[in-house]
Amino acid sequence: MKVSLNWLEQYFNEKLDGFEIEAILTKLGLEVENREKLDLSFSNVVVGKIESLEKHPNADKLQICSINVGEKENLQIVTGALNIYVGMKVPVALVGSKVVGGNISESKLRGISSYGMLCSGTELNMDSSLLSDNEKDGILPLSEDLELGEDLLDVFSLHDEVLDLGLTPNRADCYGIYNIAKEIILKKDYKLKKIEFLKGDLSKENFKIKINNENLCHRYVARIVKDVNIKPSPLWFANLLRNVGVRPINNIVDITNYVMFELGQPMHAFDFDKLEGSKIVVEEAYDGETFITLDGKERKLDKDMLLIKDGVKAVALAGVMGGYNSEVDNNTKNILFEAAHFNSASIRRTSRKLGLRSEASGRFERGLSEENAIKAMDRAMYLVELLGAGKVEKSYFEAYPIKQIIPTITSTTEKVNAILGMNIASEEIIKIYEKLNFNVKIEDDKLLVTPEAHRIDVKSEIDLVEEVVRIYGYENIPATLPVGATNTIKVDYKIKLVEQIKNYLVDNGLNEIVSYSFIDKSSYEKCGYATLADERLKVMNPLSENQSYMREKLLPGIIEIASRNYKRQRRNIPIFEIGRVFKGTVNKLPEETLKLGIFILENEVKEWYGKVKNDFFTLKGILEKLISTISNKELKFERLTELETLHPGRAANIIANNQIIGQIGEIHPNVLSEYDIKEKAFYLELELEGFDEPKVKQYKSLPKYPSIERDMALIIPKDLNYAKIFKTISDASNNMVVKCRIFDIFEGSQIEEDMKSVAFSLTYQDPDKTMIDEDVSTIHNSIINTLVERFGAKLR
């Protein structure tokens, strides 16, 4: 919402300072997003008249003009403009002037001297939305009656400052500049001038207004103006509109726009002679009904949209845009002005469905006071007379089925202070209400407060509290700390767990990433997942296709980021993410599961101390250490071959308490190539639900007797895995082996094809006595025998 200081100053006797007004509005909660001085974009541009035109002797496309700028001698200016003619008044940038695009100096064009430049609207910093079609085209034509030599800054009233307000939805009334003026006097001791109205009498004549659905239209006011003289508005009036970003069209339309910007009330002007039925009917459209709006576009309507009809045909889309068929044009003789109150939700839905937003719909959507309609009408009629635009009929027509209820709110000083934590005196509070022009009645210790009609946001005591503190000043609120009972809400262990995991992973060289929770549908296929994206997790209105599904896995986001870093020549990519993934369910809400994903690239490098690289076991080591840090869970790994995400020979399910809690493995080369990663990479995804706070461990007494180590080297079948051997050893030793460390694995030419050589170091310990060599040998040999018998192992 743009507010011009020139406009505001109409309501005061004082000159306003932009900086100060910005500070005041900010303190009152009307956010100023931008403040712009309008007279900075050009200088030294004056009104000139083209007195003669001749062709340039050396250039086909140039003309030499002789321009009268009110000085004794005419200026010679060479121009390439096409839309100029003798007698035309034009903006002339004098030598030494500044316009958008540069500074103007004396120059020679193909041998002919030129002392200035003729300007287009753009060169004078006019937004193209402010220019009519013929104004957009080349040099800006100026009005005949302008004085020669007059500064264009004065012509267009550009010694002005414009504040751009970001209004909150509760203060729709401030879409009217007069209501902003009312705010200013809350903080500044200025006198607010009254604005003038031309009131009418309520007609009892035969022109009828009929509202079919009262809930959608609480009030409809109409008034007729006869013998109108359609012409451009006077410059001062047009300039005010232009400075708040509205293109002047003609006096009648400009008046409706002016009132909309002054009081926040959208109005509409119908060509009365184009209305056929001598009445106004407000009713819903039918499904499939079509209607051509002012902009010439045909709109397809449905039964939720509200139309204004003339008894024969639809003439306006209520609150959104007028109809093409009843538009005011240069031949219009009589006008019917409309000021109405429409249901904000209905207007909002209509304008959304049609994708049609207008200044009017924006105001209706936010909600207006019913009382505003008649004020706006009376103000518009005053302006019609002021601008001599036509003959205002004495009486007006109205349907007002649902009257505005202005509440009377009961409040106490104690309550206000209790909420604020302050001690504002009753008198002070009453003074604030009076400043706001709220009616106050004192009854015992209670205040009965009735807000002004346009403040439809003030409905209950808390709204009064807000008004009090807003005007008393937020800067005057003390800063205290709350006192009270101790909080007893228990912390979810998961919150601590996540912090602990992040600490561990970061200590171990991994970097945390944060990826988007929505992913591309195709990424599941790219990542080799067998299932397709769950349609229940599809975002109805995504910003783009690649952000249209809520993630079920972390990998797509993580590998995308890995790939991005890889493409930047990065090879050391140890990254992890902790975040939620989703699963569609029969319930309303999807299931949210917290997961951890870790990605590392093989990244083989030569360091000064030797070659290093990551592999499956690097990642497995990180996982094992992590799990033992955060829980007492025992992990098991089961080979996983059916996935196309991970290498079928190098992947495993991670199992704890007989439940699969994740997967770990080398990423399938097909997946890596989808993401242009040309090196091995390893990935694990782990579910973090179900990690309860581990039970406190109880101390176990230390072993009393020494342990003995023995090595064992065996040739065993290639397929025999470590877990199985270890279990066999452990069982065969009758629990006397407390540790089994594998220190060598070897396959190759010296060994039979299906076999491998493994070497273990076993630690023996008897909890009840010191073991002697013989005891150990007995067990050691029985282990060997078991391995030989069960697996065909051979001693090396």
């Binding site: 303190k27 939805p169 302050m422 800063a479 709350p482 009270g484 944060v514 140890p574 809400l589």
Partner: protein, 363 residues
């Protein structure tokens, strides 16, 4: 020398050592001098060991001398013993001293050869980095848990009911325009703020008091440019109890800002509007870049907007079952990205989601 000693003892009459001991001492003192010189001459531990054997070995000089102990009379024995002891300890002391010196020298020499380049980098010294958003989130959580708040979490995909209606934003409320929403279906949205946690936790707690929580998490809005991301992070704060005031809110936020940005920073509350709080306030922190002189960072205003807050709207309390005549509360929502950008001087929000390791490793 041995000759002289041999002769001395051959000539020695029984019990006369007392009177002749000067002679013996003279002989031995010469031998002692000789020994001391030999010890000094030894430049290596091995040289010294030869000297040691010469004097202290089984067939060494001391051992030879000791043989005369058996040959002298009982009266002379202690006298001779004293003389030998004296001779022995002098050499022994000297030898040990010399051993210590030479061993030290030799170890030093050996260590000298084992010298390494201590400026080479350590092995496996790479640490990882938490995402800056996590660092800020953890800091804010700590600030609030230290003053008795509990961290809770809500759903990222939330019912329209909790995301809007329970926060005083019914369907068709103009405030829905303030936040462009992603929908999964008509009733289910990607939460547009962490505020639904307010309703959820109050439902769980009512009628218990106080409710004193903060709730961090991801939120989503249909916006994507250099200052907006369709996904970002917030921390919701809520305190509900008897006698909670707007002044308390200001005090808590002042504590927060000073804890994050430093004691010297100030805050400014500006009236604003959120449907679920009233009175509402936008909170600005004084610009640390220019000390409020005005600069590009603060748009020449001296202030930086960091969060939205207010007193919990009575109808939000009522919908959760609390009596708004007896109970009040405050709430606030902090944008973590915003804080991180201000704290670390990050000038483009997209950096936070690009996850360039060169960026992440700076934290």
């Amino acid at each position: 020398m041995f000759e002289k000693i041999k002769i001395f003892f051959e000539e020695l009459e029984t019990d006369s050592l007392e009177s002749k001991k000067d002679v013996l001492e003279d002989i031995l003192s010469l031998a002692k001098e000789e020994g001391l010189i030999e010890i000094d001459k030894g430049k290596k531990v091995d040289d010294l060991k030869i000297v040691q054997t010469k004097y202290f070995g089984k067939k060494g000089i001391i051992s030879d001398l000791m043989k005369y102990m058996g040959k002298v009379s009982n009266k002379d024995k202690p006298i001779l013993g004293k003389i030998i002891h004296n001779f022995k300890t002098t050499l022994e002391d000297k030898l040990n001293q010399r051993f210590t010196v030479l061993k030290k020298t030799e170890i030093n020499a050996k260590l000298e050869t084992e010298k390494i380049d201590i400026t080479l980098p350590g092995t496996n010294s790479q640490r990882g980095h938490k995402h800056p958003l996590t660092l800020v989130e953890e800091q804010i959580k700590e600030i609030f848990t230290n003053i008795g708040f509990t961290v809770v979490e809500g759903f990222e995909i939330e019912e329209d009911y909790y995301n809007f209606e329970r926060l005083n934003i019914p369907k068709d409320h103009p405030a829905r325009e303030m936040q462009d929403t992603f929908y999964l279906n008509e009733d289910v949205v990607l939460r547009t703020h962490t505020s639904p946690v307010q309703a959820r936790i109050m439902d769980k707690m009512c009628p218990q008091l106080p409710v004193k929580i903060i709730a961090p998490g991801k939120v989503f809005r249909r916006d994507d440019d250099s200052t907006h991301s369709p996904m970002f992070h917030q921390i919701e704060g809520l305190m509900v109890d008897k006698n909670i005031t707007f002044a308390d809110l200001k005090g808590v936020l002042l504590h927060l800002v000073k804890s994050i940005f430093g004691e010297e920073r100030k805050i400014r509350l500006r009236p604003s509007y959120f449907p679920f709080t009233e009175p509402s306030a936008e909170v600005d922190v004084s610009c640390g870049n220019c000390n409020q002189e005005g600069c590009r960072v603060c748009g020449y205003t001296g202030w930086l907007e960091i969060l939205g807050s207010g007193m919990v709207h009575p109808s939000v309390l009522e919908m959760a079952g609390y009596n708004s005549n007896e109970v009040t509360g405050f709430a606030f929502g902090i944008g973590i990205e915003r804080i991180a950008m201000l704290k670390y001087g990050i000038d483009d929000m997209r950096l936070l989601f690009d996850n360039d390791l060169r960026f992440l490793e700076q934290f």
